[in-house]
Structures are given as structure tokens and as C-alpha cells.
């Protein structure tokens, strides 16, 4: 019997009732008395020197209340990089200032250099147009291509950075010589150059922010589309505007998707706060979709050369990677860590490969900033590895399933320290591969291929065996690696007098289903109905200082913090019960919502204990404080390491080059599973995004730095018809060894594991049709497939 309650049950997502009935409350839904509208004036050129910003005429237009330019913010701080990375030679990275509004230069199409506040949105739009028309920007040559950016120091995104390079990182530099030596003596080397295509996050809800200032108290409030309200508060307060943290509340209400893009602090947030202060009125801004395309932090964008050294039987000897990672015009908050510690450290995969070296050059260009996007670095690592392995198998005529199998780490090897510095605590990669092969009926593939051929289609099967590091992250470790923040999380469990509970969590749900899953865990641990648990998140005035949601960390970090807070509640409850039941504390047990004296029928319910904590008439006041509320902070001991095997089948239409994904099988190890339905949903969404990256999504800038794919007319998002019915399994479970829930995180898996499975399947199909194509870059669009076939 599947459970119908608590841990492991597929409890229905309680938040969906409001989301699906239009009763969610998003930032843009909030109407405030006296509100005003901000519209940003954005650069239409990719690179230019601002000669003058034409505010004169606009300032006299109807309804215009204030105009801000870069000049107004030149004395406040910049939006900082969250992670400081050193180059191979030990020199620190370049961190150019990222101002609230562009000052001196504009550096990408969509770079905001002015903002208008007006009584109505239309008035603000009109004035913004006027400013745009009246502004004088000297256009400079755009820097778009990374190779050219590195080569030409005469043209600079930031004048103080001569080669447009942020850093040149080597991981692990001391191992480089040994890796090079392994390549020299290897019987076989496979080389693959590939592009990990830039993606626009395309959250359903565009970014939106409302700034408020309360002159009576000097307090500020920012309501914003954030994945981590405390981090945003810290950045706005301590780094950018200098507002004391205690005078600023940040609220991230219902948020309609983030995928990483809403982790970061953006200039628009600082602007609405500064404007609210100036006008003493609420100032609101909601991005138009085209602004989202131009100014949300994009994802991926690596140009990579990966090499694999092996023997003739396909035993891996070494991996070597050279990557150029585009960070765009400015450093978004996690931009520097994504291509390094979230990418390079994963380059051993789930394999026992002795030598690995990764070099990443991170490059400034006149394009939108690039940062972590669902998977963040790990999809890039997985794609490189799983593609080059596939290419090697073809070159040596080896079976891709067998090659993975013989190179996998085995269960007796854990904990295992990889050559790129991670310590995998547990896993069973053979189990997930076996499971995926069974699900995919690999043995029956030949027949399916014949059936497809009868319908005029080439059929291919592609494999990807992925691993990632999530549950981010141990603070002491990330501190050593350059992080400017800690990555613990926190939860407060408040038992109310009537026995129901409010749980304030540092994690932030923007679609994932925390309100359901966290309630399931709390309910089970306390033996109370799920409906008696309320999960509160997203408001810095209510929740403890947590770090928000990204990197598949919510459950593995914040969920564990909540569990620890609950343990404290139970411990205190036992003390109260011991007093009430006139028994020794050590004799009290807590089970199924009851505190009992062991071996007797004397017991108090959880509700009775709660009541007595708040109405302490019969209570050990001399030794125990009244009330029942506990907070726990939890800093993880290690990353968690979910892993799995994905098998994709495609059909290719040779006449048009169209690829149809006809089957997709996922066998994942997420450790213990709290809510199977939600886990499946996360995998579905992630694989959908991965198929989008593999087949559809292309972010293309022309040589002038104009975004050619700036709307849904040209940016292809995956739709229901582009994806198959997914076959998802999570039964291969090796519980995480270092958190009490035994959970690993499932939010990014699908997006990490799926792209190489799709591309490998396409190439398998093409080879079966006699088209000896080594590689096609993503998105593997019909035009590209046809071009590859027809040379």
C-alpha cells in the first residue's frame, strides 16, 4: 500500500489549489495605495559610450515624477559577485562594478541606463521613449564572440580589463602535468569540440519588484520575484544601497518559476527602493517579456574542447577539458562559480578515472549576464562527458552501455574522493543503469528500429549516465573556495497553543511544492495531520535567516534544519510531559503524536503538551521557559550526489531533419523520497527543459550584439507536443549518508542528465542511416540535422 500521509506519500500539492484557480498572489497582483510606475530605458546598442542622457524633455511630460540615471547611483555600491575565483597563476579575478544603472558605458542590449517613475504605466512608457530618443550614445564595436574577445585587447567590455577575461582557472592545477602525461601515453584519445548553448530562463512569471518606504519609521520594503529573499536583502542593504538590514524587509510572495534566474539581485530592485524613498510612494515595476529576454541572467554558454584518454577496451585513463565560459557584460551573483566549482568538480562523472584536469577561461562580452540556470555547471559537465564517451564508443566500436558499466565506481568504493576534489558519499550506478535498461527494453530496440524504418524514419537510442553535486553546500568548504556567503539554512517551528504548527523556513518555493513536502515531514515527525502544519516562506520579517532555494538544496539543507528544529520541540515536549505525568524525563517516549511514560498507559497528546506550554498552569516554570518554539540552523557536511541513467529514443525524418523524442526513460537515485509525485514532477520538468536545450532553444546574438531570438517568435520553447510521456523511476535508492532525511535533491537532475541522452540518440539514428556524423551542436534543430546529413 502506498502511504497516504506523511513521509513517502504522494500528498497532493496544496499550493496548486491557489495556483490553478488564479488565487495565487504574485508581486504584480499587489495594488498599493498611491503606487507609481517605473519603466527602464534600456540600451538598444550592445556597446556604447554614453555622451548624454536626455532627461530634459521627458521630465516635463505628463505624470512624470522622477527620472534616475547612472549618475544618481555612482556613489553607491555595485551588485557584487558572490564568489571570488583565482586564476591558475594565483591572481584574483576581475570584478568590474555592476551599477544600479549603467554609467559611462552601456554594455549589452537591454542594459538599463535610466528609469522613469510616473503616475501611470503609459506615462512612464512615453517618457522612457522620449529619453531613449533624446539620449546620445556613441556606438562602439560589439564584443560578442568569446575567442575574439580574448584575442583583441583593443576592444574592451570594461576599460580596465584588457583581455576581457575574468579569470583563467585550472582545476586541479597541480594535477595538470600528470593528466598531460596520461594523454601522451594513452592508447586512444577522443577529442570533441562542442558548444553548450546559451539559454534564456523564461520563467512563466517575469521579474517584478515593488519598493516601499515608510517615512514614519524609516523602514523600507521590497516585494520582489526572488528565490532567496534574505540574500537579496543582504546584497541590497550591505553592498548596494547601504540601507541597514534591520530597516529593510524583503518579501518574495508567490513566484512563478525561477530556474536560477531569480536567485540574483538585479538593479531594478535597488532602483524601486531608491525611488520609493525619494517619492515616499510605492514604486512598482514588472518586466515585459522582451525585457526578460534582454535582462534576465541567461544560462550555460560554454565553448568547450573535451578530450578522453582510454585504452582500446574503453577503460578511461583521463579527461581533459578546455572551456570558455561566457559571463556576459557584468558578473551576476553566481556567475563566477557556475563554470568553475559547479562544473569542473563534476568532470570525473560517476567513473573511476584516475586523471582529470579542467581549464576554464571566463569571458566578458557585450551580451546579457550569464549565471546559474537549472543544473548550473553540472549540465555542462555531464554533456561534455557523456558526449565524448559516446564518440569514443563509436570510434572504437564499443557498446556504450558496457563502457559505462566497466568504468563506473562500484558500491564498495564509497566514500570516494574524485580526482577533482569531491567526496561522493554513496551511490549505485550499476543499479540505475540496469534499471533504465530494463525500463527502456534495450533488448527490443532492434525491432522498434525496424518498425520506425517501415514508417520511413531513422530510430536512435542514446544513453547518459549522470551524476551531480547538490544540496548546496558546506559553508567552510565553499568559504575556502571563494564564496562570500555561507550556505546553511534555517527553520523555526512554532507550535501554537492549540497544537497546530507554523514552520518558518529559509527555503523559498517558486513552484517546487515545499508547502506540501515540508508539511508532510513535519506532520509525520510530530504525529499530527498535514493540515495542521503551515509552511511560511519568503518574508524576511517572518522567517529565520536562510539562503533560499537553488542547487536542489531545499530539502537536503532546509528540510534537515526543520527536522532538527522538530527534534528540539520533541525534546522540550518530553520535559513538559515528564512534569505533567510525574515521571522521569528519560522514561518519556514520543510516538504517534503522544508523549507516554514507557511501559505504562499514562500519556499526553501533542496538543495537550502544546496547550500547557502556552497556558503554563501546571508547568515546571522554575526550570523551563513556557512556549514551544524552536529554531535550528543546519550546515551540511557535504554535497549530496544524486545520480542516474537516462535512455532516450528518437526518430529522425531524413527528409526534413526533424527529430521526435519518442521515448524517455529515467532511472534516478535521489536517496530517500519524501513525495514520489513531486519527485516525478521535478524530473518531468527538468527533462522537458533538457529536451528544450537539446532540440529547440537557441539564444543567438548577431555580430552587433543584437539578440535575434528575443521573443517567442524565434526562441523555441519546448511544448507538450515536443516531449514524450516520461517513464520515471526512483526505486534505486542509496540514502544520503550525512543528512538525517537521507535525501539528495531532485530539482535539477532532469535538466542535467537529459541533453546528452537526446543528442546521443540523434547521432545513433543518423549513423544507422549511414550518416557518419560525429557531432551536431545543440539545439539539434531540423535545419542543422538536414545540413549535417547533406553536408
Amino acid at each position: 500500500m502506498p502511504k497516504d500521509y506523511g513521509i513517502g506519500a504522494s500528498s497532493k500539492r496544496r499550493e496548486d489549489v491557489r495556483f490553478l484557480t488564479g488565487r495565487g498572489v504574485y508581486t504584480d497582483d499587489m495594488a498599493l495605495h498611491g503606487q507609481t510606475y517605473a519603466v527602464f530605458v534600456r540600451s538598444t546598442v550592445a556597446h556604447g559610450r554614453i555622451r548624454s542622457v536626455g532627461t530634459e524633455a521627458a521630465s516635463k511630460m505628463p505624470g512624470v515624477l522622477a527620472i534616475f540615471t547612472g549618475e544618481d547611483f555612482k556613489d553607491v555600491g555595485g551588485n557584487p559577485a558572490g564568489w571570488l575565483i583565482n586564476s591558475r597563476d594565483g591572481t584574483p579575478m576581475h570584478e568590474p562594478k555592476r551599477p544600479v544603472l549603467a554609467h559611462g558605458k552601456v554594455r549589452h542590449v537591454g542594459d538599463a541606463y535610466a528609469a522613469v517613475i510616473a503616475e501611470t504605466y503609459q506615462q512612464a512608457k512615453d517618457a522612457a521613449q522620449q529619453i531613449s530618443d533624446d539620449t546620445d550614445i556613441e556606438e562602439l564595436p560589439a564584443i560578442v564572440d568569446m575567442r575574439a574577445a580574448l584575442a583583441d585587447s583593443s576592444n574592451r567590455v570594461h576599460d580596465e580589463i584588457p583581455d576581457n577575461q575574468c579569470y583563467d582557472w585550472g582545476w586541479i592545477e597541480d594535477n595538470r602535468a600528470a593528466v598531460d602525461a596520461a594523454f601522451k601515453s594513452a592508447p586512444h584519445v577522443t577529442t570533441l569540440e562542442l558548444v553548450n548553448n546559451r539559454l534564456v530562463p523564461n520563467a512563466m512569471e517575469p521579474r517584478a519588484s515593488i519598493g516601499e518606504y515608510f517615512p514614519g519609521t524609516g523602514d523600507y520594503k521590497l516585494t520582489t520575484t526572488s528565490q532567496n529573499p534574505h540574500l537579496t536583502r543582504l546584497l541590497v542593504a550591505a553592498f548596494v544601497l547601504g540601507i541597514p538590514e534591520n530597516k529593510l524587509t524583503v518579501v518574495a510572495p508567490d513566484v512563478g518559476g525561477g530556474f536560477g534566474s531569480k536567485i540574483y539581485h538585479y538593479g531594478e530592485e535597488a532602483l524601486v527602493l531608491a525611488a520609493a524613498k525619494k517619492l515616499a510612494r510605492p514604486v512598482r515595476w514588472t518586466a515585459e517579456r522582451s525585457e526578460s529576454f534582454l535582462s534576465d541572467a541567461h544560462g550555460r554558454d560554454h565553448v568547450t574542447k573535451i578530450e578522453l584518454a582510454c585504452d582500446k577496451e574503453g577503460n578511461f585513463l583521463a579527461f581533459r577539458t578546455e572551456t570558455m565560459a561566457n559571463v556576459g557584460a557584468y558578473l551576476s551573483n553566481f556567475a563566477t562559480v557556475t563554470p568553475t566549482f559547479l562544473h569542473g568538480t563534476l568532470m570525473a562523472g560517476p567513473y573511476k578515472v584516475p586523471h582529470v584536469y579542467v581549464n576554464v577561461k571566463t569571458v566578458f562580452t557585450n551580451t546579457a549576464p550569464v549565471d546559474a540556470y537549472r543544473g548550473a555547471g553540472r549540465p555542462e559537465a555531464t554533456y561534455s562527458l557523456e558526449r565524448v564517451i559516446d564518440k569514443m564508443c563509436r570510434e572504437l566500436g564499443l557498446d556504450p552501455f558496457e563502457v559505462r558499466r566497466k568504468n563506473f565506481l562500484t558500491t564498495d568504493m564509497f566514500p570516494y574522493t574524485t580526482p577533482v576534489g569531491l567526496v561522493y558519499d554513496t551511490g549505485n550506478y550499476h543499479a540505475t543503469l540496469d534499471k533504465a535498461m530494463e525500463m527502456a527494453d534495450v533488448a527490443g530496440f532492434a525491432k522498434r528500429r525496424a518498425d520506425s524504418a517501415a514508417r520511413g524514419k531513422l530510430r536512435g537510442m542514446g544513453l547518459s549516465t549522470w551524476i551531480e553535486a547538490c544540496g548546496i553546500a558546506p559553508s567552510n568548504l565553499v568559504g575556502i573556495l571563494g564564496a562570500r556567503v555561507g550556505l546553511y539554512d534555517a527553520a523555526t517551528v512554532r507550535v501554537n497553543a492549540t497544537g497546530n504548527i507554523s514552520v518558518m523556513v529559509g527555503a523559498h518555493s517558486h513552484g517546487q511544492g515545499h508547502e506540501t513536502v515540508f508539511a508532510q515531514i513535519a506532520a509525520e515527525k510530530l504525529g499530527i495531520p498535514e493540515s495542521s502544519v503551515e509552511i511560511v516562506h519568503g518574508d524576511t520579517s517572518k522567517i529565520p535567516f536562510g539562503m533560499g532555494s537553488y542547487g536542489s538544496r531545499s530539502l537536503a539543507v532546509c528540510g534537515v534544519a526543520m527536522t532538527k528544529a522538530i527534534d528540539k520541540i520533541v525534546a522540550k515536549g518530553k520535559k513538559i510531559a515528564a512534569h505533567m505525568l510525574e515521571a522521569a524525563e528519560g522514561d518519556i517516549t514520543f510516538e504517534d503524536g503522544k508523549f507516554s511514560v514507557a511501559g505504562t498507559d499514562k500519556a499526553k497528546t501533542f496538543g495537550e503538551i502544546a496547550f500547557s506550554a502556552y497556558v503554563p498552569h501546571n508547568y515546571p516554570l522554575e526550570t523551563l521557559e513556557p512556549g514551544l518554539e524552536e529554531t535550528a540552523f543546519y550546515d551540511p557536511a557535504n554535497f549530496t550526489y544524486p545520480a542516474g541513467a537516462y535512455i532516450c529514443e528518437v526518430e529522425v525524418d531524413e527528409g526534413t531533419g526533424k527529430v521526435d523524442v519518442v521515448a524517455f526513460h529515467c532511472a534516478d537515485d535521489f536517496g530517500n523520497v519524501m513525495n514520489p509525485m513531486i519527485v516525478e514532477g521535478q524530473v518531468h520538468g527538468g527533462v522537458g527543459q533538457g529536451i528544450g536545450q537539446a532540440l529547440l532553444e537557441s539564444t543567438t546574438y548577431d555580430e552587433n550584439g543584437q539578440l535575434l531570438t528575443g521573443s517567442y517568435m524565434d526562441y523555441a520553447m519546448p511544448r507538450a507536443g515536443d516531449v514524450p510521456f516520461y517513464n520515471v523511476d526512483y526505486s534505486c535508492q542509496t540514502a544520503c549518508t550525512h543528512n538525517v532525511l537521507g535525501v539528495k535533491g531532485c530539482g535539477e537532475a532532469g535538466a542535467i542528465g537529459s541533453p546528452p541522452a537526446v543528442v546521443n540518440a540523434v547521432l545513433d539514428a543518423l549513423h544507422s542511416g549511414g550518416h557518419k556524423i560525429a557531432h551536431i551542436d545543440m539545439p539539434v534543430s531540423p535545419g542543422r540535422v538536414w545540413q549535417a546529413i547533406n553536408g
Binding site: S290, G655, T656, G657, L696, T709, Y712, A716, P782
Partner: protein, 262 residues
Amino acid sequence: MFDFEFVKPSSIVEAARLLGGEGAQALSGGQTLMPTMKQRLAAPSVLVSLTGIAEMKGLSVAAGTLTVGAATPHAVVAAEAARVFPALAALAGGIGDPAVRNRGTIGGSIANNDPSACYPAAVLASGATVVTSKRRIAADDFFQGMFSTALEEGEFVTSVAFPIPEKAAYVKFNQPASRFALTGVFVAKFAGGVRVAVTGASNNGVFRWAEAEAALAKSFTADALQGLGVDDSDMITDLHGTAAYRANLVKVLTGRAVSAAG
């Protein structure tokens, strides 16, 4: 969006008068015009809605001709032409999404003459007659290149009269993002010959593929196209495909349309 006035006449005559006014523009389903206005790329001062004109709506069949009112939404054509002219119904049913099909109209589509739109292929391949507020225009004369038609200032489409072919099919290859036609081919076989119209491929908008028409008139089979080449010199190259790719699609899709037409 800029400010504008909105009027909704109930007859063709009244609409013609209103559209003669300064800064007036026809509004039909609004699926093309409204997004353009929202992006501030168009700023008509008066919008003359055509959707309240009963004589411009609905389908009728007489003497082998299907007449579709210009203000008829795609969804209505998809449902009501299914028996008499299934290829046209299928084309209408494949445009955009349900919201677009329930608002967007045939008149708006052909007046706009987007180089990737579907209807122009049907109108041209069927040898239809475009009926306007002033005259009747043969399809061969109506489409005059990308976003350009024979319509004059103030003139608007009131209906389209389609001779019903013996056999026909439209095969559309979706542009992956917009789902307009990356290339689409409409093949129509009449007692007197075959017409093949191609959309999405050419820099000059919808066009007829004469060589294929001649070959198919002799033998209405996909094989009849075997030896034909498609000149790609005037074809579109963009993010989604090169001219050569589109030329290939023209041939592949024409063959598939012939097979589908049966």
C-alpha cells in the same frame, strides 16, 4: 500601446466609409495587429473593427465554390469546411493555438500576407478570388511579395471565393519557435490542372512552383517530382534554416502533400 478610437460598424458600406478616414485601420481578429500595437510599432488613430459585419462572416457553398467571409475565424473554417474542402479546414485547424484560431481571421491573414502564413498558400493554390470592398482580385494578382498585396488605401477584403479542388492537401513544416510555416506547400488538383503554392520559403512571399505543377498535371504522384530541382536563390535564410534547406523542404513537402491528397 498608444491611444486610439474604436468603432464597430455593422455593414460593409459603413466600414468602407470609416476606413476612408484619416489614420483609420481595419481590425479583424487582432492577432497580428494587437501585438504590433502593444509593442508600439503601429499607432492607428482609429480602429475599425470588421467582426461586427454579418455579411463578412461564415461559409457558403455554391456551384463548386466555397466562399468564406473575410471576418470568419480560423476555428470556424476548421469546423465548417471539413466536409466540402477538407484540406482548407485542416490548414485552418493547424494555425496557431485555439486562442489564435478563435480570434484570427482569413481576411486578416491574407491582407497581412506574412511570408510564413498558411492561408496565402491555400488561396493561391486554389486559384481563389479575393473579393474586396471595391472589386474582385484573382489570387495570382493579389499577393505581391512579403507583407504586400494588391489592396489599395482604404480597400479591404470582404470574402474569399475558393473553387473546390478534386484533391488537395496542405503540408506545413513548423518553424520551431513561432509554429508558423517554416515552409508550407498547398497542392490542389482540378480537372484542368494542378496548382502548387509554397509559403514560408521565399523572400517574395507565397509563390507557385510552376515546374511541379506541370509535372503533376502529367502524373499526380510524388514520384513525378523526382527529377525537379528547386532554385534557392530567392529563398529565405534565417536562424531556422538556410535557403538550401528551405528549397529541400519545398520539394519534400510537395511530395508529401501529393501523397496526402491521394
